[in-house]
């Protein structure tokens, strides 16, 4: 009886966007008269943080503080069309639409500021803290509230913008499969260290080391959230989850969380991760999206680590204690 340790790795890539394209998203931006900007979408935040990221993208493009941006979503009466949140498309498509809308709004904003300050718009910059001023002369400037009021009440101009991003839909060659499936590819490599209990077949994932290439880490803390949450789901898929434990037999399908097993807070792996950025030319500030990829490389890395630990090669997910024990039995049987 022993606890056997092993290490395994896996490397993967992940496509950005709905397969074959044809999934546009739109965004609208308008400035209020109180110094804020509202981004109006019909996009859905599943908890991955779309509302935050879109706010950051708008703030960056407009040159204003993040705190001045509000994201209003989702209502099909007021929000322009969005295909939906799936296929790691939201940051990419909606982000690009927000940039386009923000650029239009910014152009108006800078022109109004230029008119107020009696300079050329090209001589102006946003300080990122709520003020537009002449480059090199911060004292010659105007705050966002004054700017918005001036635009609306004095100049009769709308500081607003419209945006859309669309990758045109393309088709697959039915004979060869030639196609253009994605807008970008993100990458990942995971090294897993596991411990296998050769009496119970239970596998503990001790440590995951992950390297991700994501185009642009839009918000480091939120990238961390996806990496950690995704890795947890990868462990869960690799070792526990199934709605049909005897697939293809449908018997004993779990009905609640007591029967549908997932790792709990006491089953966590130590994690160490690093991020590389290779900006996508067509991504918002180069972002490729990260929401789905993070569950994928841990799964085979764990399977390979189990093999390294105890010699059992599991070709079927989930790799349950039963499968490990049957594998060990087979090895022992072979050894006589």
């Amino acid at each position: 009886m022993a606890r056997l340790r092993g290490r395994g790795m896996a490397s993967v890539n992940y496509p950005t966007g709905m397969n074959l394209g044809g999934d546009p998203s739109q965004a609208l931006i308008h400035a209020t008269t109180t110094g804020n900007f509202v981004i109006t979408l019909s996009s859905v935040d599943l908890g991955q943080g779309l509302k935050t990221i879109m706010g950051q993208i708008a703030a960056e493009t407009l040159g204003i503080p993040y705190d001045n941006v509000m994201v209003d979503t989702a209502d099909t009466d007021t929000g322009p069309h969005c295909m939906g949140t799936f296929a790691s498309r939201a940051t990419h498509r909606v982000g690009n639409a927000v940039i386009m809308a923000a650029r239009e709004a910014r152009e108006v904003m800078m022109q109004v500021a230029a008119d107020e300050l009696e300079v050329d718009a090209e001589d102006l910059t946003g300080d990122g803290k709520g003020r537009i001023h002449v480059k090199g002369s911060p004292e010659k400037g105007i705050g966002l509230v004054d700017l918005a009021l001036a635009a609306h009440f004095k100049h009769g101009r709308t500081i607003s913008g419209r945006g859309i991003f669309m990758k045109p839909k393309s088709d697959v060659d039915p004979e060869t499969g030639a196609m253009d499936p994605d807008s970008a590819q993100a990458h990942a490599c995971t090294v897993a260290e596991v411990e296998v209990d050769d009496e119970t077949g239970e596998v503990s994932v001790l440590k995951l080391t992950n390297v991700y290439e994501v185009g642009r880490a839009m918000n480091p803390a939120m990238v961390h959230q996806q990496i950690v949450g995704g890795a947890w789901m990868g462990i869960s898929h690799a070792l526990y989850e199934t709605t049909e434990p005897y697939y293809p037999d449908r018997a004993h399908g779990p009905l609640d969380f007591a029967e549908y097993l997932m790792p709990g807070p006491g089953d966590l792996a130590e994690m160490r991760s690093a991020v590389i950025e290779r900006p996508a030319k067509n991504g918002p500030y180069g972002a490729k999206g990260i929401g789905e990829m993070t569950a994928n490389s841990p799964i085979p890395a764990i399977a390979n680590a189990i093999y390294d630990a105890c010699g059992v090669r599991c070709d079927e997910m989930p790799i349950t204690p039963e499968k490990v024990l049957r594998g060990l039995d087979a090895l022992r049987g072979r050894a006589g």
Partner: protein, 458 residues
């Protein structure tokens, strides 16, 4: 927090950014920690009816009769909706882009194809009355043979479970999605070693902490406001309008804050029938999945069976890869035809292999229809591909990191689906993972780069 490895691709990153790339607080967190975030079920309306679905207790059966009278006798039950009430009784994503065949009824007319399939909807004043009413409905089934295995489903002697006569989706005349790149048979003939293995997964549930559901409110204007946790508001609206025979402008979808989706809230299953109920009763209607329904009735990630046959040279180059992949769509298509194409596109993984042959099948069986889930078309494929790579590495006596680097795609390579590689970074993530975990790679592997394919002399 993650270490940002900035030495790679440094000249491809432009000016420093002010807000993007920084950690700002999440916009939604304060609502979450105070319990004030509004999810769809947090709205309620006076006079709201509760919908409880009567579900099939058989895997595959004809419906001889449905007796709803016992349900109507339960105090609090207001109405039972059957297929006769549904204006256009087809749910299929493919309708929106004009692709036939129509494949999934909103409420079945004459047969059920999976255990748990919805049959008729009981509407009542309270959830308890609705449940009691649903339990009282009597369905008279005539069992049909059920198919559970993907390869068995495709055998010519296995009866078709679909009205169009095939247990698979037809891709422009073919029985599968195909990738044909180079000549795998020539590649196998030239290879030093052949590796052939089978990989298998079973269905996996999204299991978000918030179950699928919606609340529909008839408005004074004659429109309907649908509070939903769908991941795709307009996709839901469009499908609903087609099913209900309503002008699109009559529907308003409100949502955008979801307690976990993972792909499980993309299909349009609860909104059409709940809105139909609101149309026919004139009252608000709530249709929320119980946890048991979420577990076994809402679509899971498809089970996949994947056969990989590789022709490999002793120096580690994979010269031919043949993938035969079966995606278990369950009883209805939903998004699986799309996901199967995505699975084919993902092959042969992030590697440049000169000869690639893929047959990706979308197969129907008598089980809960599968659909999108985090990593749709990719996650299970990655399991198979990377375990296969590990086998090859071990058999050839090549370090697993080095095997990946030898085969990794570079910018300018042609993928099996004939798109040119750009923005590659597989080499760099593998190199860094090796470095961080203390695996010192030989110089020639450390020198590799996604930007160029090194010459034969390294």
């Amino acid at each position: 927090m993650e270490e940002l490895l900035t030495s790679h691709f440094a000249d491809e990153r432009g000016d420093p950014l002010m807000v993007v790339g920084t950690t700002v607080p999440r916009a939604d967190a304060r609502g979450h920690v105070t319990g004030r975030t509004q999810f769809y079920e947090d709205v309620t309306f006076p006079g709201m009816l509760h919908l409880k679905m009567v579900r099939s207790t058989r895997h595959h059966a004809l419906i001889r009769a449905v007796d709803t009278a016992p349900a109507m006798a339960v105090p609090g039950v207001v109405r039972v909706l059957t297929h006769k009430d549904v204006p256009a009784n087809w749910y299929t994503i493919l309708r929106l882009i004009g692709v036939e065949p129509n494949d999934e009824p909103v409420l079945p007319e004459d047969r059920v194809l999976f255990l748990g399939e919805q049959i008729c909807a009981v509407l009542a004043e309270t959830p308890a009355a609705a449940a009691e009413g649903a339990a009282a409905v009597v369905v008279d089934y005539e069992d049909l043979p059920a198919v559970f295995d993907v390869e068995e489903a495709l055998r010519p002697e296995t009866p078709a479970i679909k009205p169009h006569g095939k247990n698979h989706f037809v891709y422009e005349g073919h029985h599968c999605r195909r990738i044909r790149f180079g000549d795998v048979e020539k590649g196998f003939a030239a290879a030093d070693r052949i590796f052939e293995h089978r990989y298998q997964s079973s269905p996996i549930e999204h299991a978000p902490t918030e179950t699928t559901g919606c609340i529909v409110k008839p408005e004074g204007s004659g429109r309907f406001t649908v509070h939903s946790n769908t991941q795709a508001l307009f996709f839901t609206l469009d499908n609903m309008a087609l099913i209900l025979g309503l002008p699109f402008g009559k529907l308003r979808l409100v949502g955008g804050t979801v307690g976990g989706g993972f792909g499980g809230k993309v299909d349009v299953i609860v909104e059409p029938i709940a809105t139909l109920a609101a149309m026919l009763t004139g009252r608000p209607v709530k249709y929320a999945y119980t946890r048991a329904e979420e577990m076994q009735v809402s679509s899971p990630r498809a089970a996949e069976r994947i056969y990989i046959r590789d022709g490999v040279m002793n120096d580690g180059r994979i010269v031919a890869r043949k993938v035969t992949l079966y995606v278990d769509a369950g009883a209805y298509s939903r998004h699986t035809p799309y996901g199967t194409t995505k699975a084919a596109a993902h092959m042969p993984g992030p590697y440049s292999i000169p000869n690639v042959h893929v047959d990706a099948h979308c197969v129907y069986t008598n089980r809960t229809p599968s659909s999108a889930m985090r990593g749709f078309g990719v996650t299970i494929g990655d399991f198979a591909l990377e375990v296969q790579m590990d086998r090859i590495a071990e058999a050839l006596g090549i370090d697993p990191f080095e095997l990946r680097l030898i085969n990794a795609y570079r910018d300018g390579d042609t993928k099996a689906h004939r798109k040119t590689v750009e923005g590659a970074a597989l080499i760099e993530v593998v190199q860094e993972a090796a470095r961080i975990t203390g695996r010192g790679l030989p110089r020639r592997f450390q020198a590799m780069s996604s930007l160029t394919r090194e010459t034969a002399h390294g």
